[in-house]
């Protein structure tokens, strides 16, 4: 057995120079310091993405993406297919945890200023993946074709339509027509299972390649303090094993959530029913939803929504390109101002989410 494996390895090594890869892995170290714990959230997010791909493919075996059958096919998955309820619940729960861990990962990178030179591209690909994840969440939410999803999609696409000039064509493109109909469901299904995963995989490849090539970012040394040699831990196997242990814990957590808090299906969408009371979007859109609720209909000469969307769009853009305007971090200096902005944003999101949740 051992000899066969050795021969197989030699055969591959001769063709692909595996020795080089192993040598590279052996020289890879992870810095150990008091903020090391944040390094794990990227890995957990990766694990959750893998779960989404696997459970998503499983759901595809039974799901039917049409106005007539979408709701019924999920009912079928939940009630007739063995373990169908489990697969769907895990897919829904993972979607939420995935966004949460990616958010933690993003904010930890932000506060550590790990986006600074030379890791600007890693930040950019990460942010683009995050926006795609919100797209995954938004498009996947419609697929069960239930009441909540129908109105969430109506409002969400209408918001896109509010943007001056380009908004209307974008809305029609997203909806596949003027209204939210079966055509919208078909499009969202296509985005969710083909377009987004394709783009996401490319971005993820670049992101991971850069992390491997450049290694983990180390914290900035405060000015005045002598540069000291950081403690490190070998990536292979020490860090990887810790990563895997955490993945196992997360998988258990998911199983508990899926079993004890199975995802509901609700009522089938009806274009001629009033929006149900207490309707609200998924938690990660809640702070924006709550902001839109609070902005008055008209402010001076601007429509309330246009203002809200404009501000969120601008904030998102500035956030995306932070490595390019935070010159201090790029020079290796402390950038307090950027930290305060981050703190403000975190507080804003948390407070508005709580208000949205409670109201």
């Amino acid at each position: 057995m051992k000899r066969t494996l050795k021969r197989l390895y030699d055969w591959l090594n001769e063709r692909m120079q595996l020795d080089d890869v192993i040598e590279f892995m052996g020289k890879k170290y992870v810095p150990v310091h008091r903020h090391s714990v944040w390094y794990y959230f990227g890995g957990v997010s990766l694990f959750l993405f893998i779960i989404q791909v696997v459970t998503g493919i499983l759901l595809l075996m039974y799901y039917k993406g049409s106005e007539e059958f979408a709701f019924e096919s999920i009912q079928f998955i939940m009630s007739k297919v063995r373990f169908g309820w489990l697969i769907r619940s895990i897919h829904s729960w993972t979607a939420n945890l995935f966004i949460l861990t990616a958010m933690i990962h993003m904010f930890s990178v932000f506060f550590e200023k790990a986006y600074r030179k030379p890791r600007e591209i890693t930040w950019l690909t990460g942010m683009l993946m995050f926006f795609l994840m919100l797209g995954f969440g938004f498009s996947g939410y419609l697929l069960p074709w239930n009441e909540l999803a129908y109105f969430a999609t109506k409002v969400g696409t209408e918001i896109a339509g509010v943007v001056p000039v380009i908004g209307r064509p974008i809305m029609v493109f997203l909806r596949g027509g003027e209204q939210v109909t079966g055509a919208t469901l078909s499009r969202f299904f296509g985005f969710h299972v083909a377009v987004f995963p394709g783009i996401f995989t490319v971005l993820l490849g670049i992101h991971l390649l850069l992390v491997q090539r450049q290694g983990m970012s180390e914290p900035l040394t405060p000015p005045g303090e002598p540069e000291k040699e950081l403690k490190t831990m070998p990536f292979f196997p020490n860090f990887l094993l810790r990563d895997l242990l955490l993945w196992l814990i997360v998988l258990n957590l998911l199983a508990i959530l899926a079993v004890f808090f199975p995802w509901e299906l609700g009522k089938k969408a009806d274009a001629f029913a009033a929006a149900p009371a207490g309707i609200r979007p998924e938690w990660y859109f809640l702070f924006m939803f709550q902001t839109l609720k609070l902005i008055p209909a008209r402010l001076w000469i601007v429509d309330g929504e246009v203002l809200g969307i404009g501000l969120f769009g601008l904030a998102g853009l500035l956030w995306l390109i932070v490595p390019f305007w935070d010159r201090k971090s790029a020079r290796g200096e402390r950038s307090r101002f950027v930290t305060y902005i981050g703190v403000f944003i975190v507080l804003y999101i948390i407070i508005l989410t709580i208000i949205g949740w409670a109201s």
Binding site: V155, A274, A275, A297, R298, D303
Partner: protein, 151 residues
């Protein structure tokens, strides 16, 4: 080293070729993109022009109530107010197009999505809606209620 003699290079000819080849490339990209973009634009579907719908018997509509009626592909809300007036409005909230409902307890038209409120004349009285609801005409003929577009 001496400078390479530039025998046979005609700058004008070269510029001309660049223009032709560059132009062809652009045209080629356009020829590919145009059908793709045109394909993505949903075709306009003929929608039967509805001018009037029957909303049922007057006797079936309780006083102080609101019902959503299909007006072609659009929802319309038919109100029978506490004062026994019949009113009809587009049920699409002017804020972000959620479907509104009648709230007996509040005595007004309410949108669940962002807490928009309209009075019995369809006027936006509170919350984010920027405009009043579009009003429809209501007629009663032989005990049947008809809703039609205001022209």
């Amino acid at each position: 080293m001496t400078e390479q003699p530039t025998i046979g290079v005609n700058e004008k000819k070269r510029d001309f070729l660049k223009l032709v080849l560059g132009g062809s490339l652009l045209a080629w990209i356009g020829a590919i993109l145009y059908p793709v973009l045109a394909y993505l634009k949903p075709p306009a579907q003929a929608e039967a022009e509805v001018t009037s719908v029957n909303a049922g018997k007057l006797s079936d509509i309780p006083k102080d109530s609101g019902t959503i009626i299909k007006f072609g592909s659009r929802p319309v809300i038919l109100l029978r107010t506490p004062k026994d007036e019949l009113k009809a409005f587009s049920a699409a909230c002017t804020h972000l197009e959620c479907t509104v409902q009648y709230r007996k307890d509040m005595g007004l038209i309410w949108c669940a999505c962002h807490n928009g409120k309209y009075d019995f004349n369809g006027r936006n009285v509170s919350g984010p809606p920027p405009r009043p609801l579009e009003e429809y005409k209501v007629n009663v003929q032989g005990g049947e209620v008809y809703i039609s577009r205001k022209s």
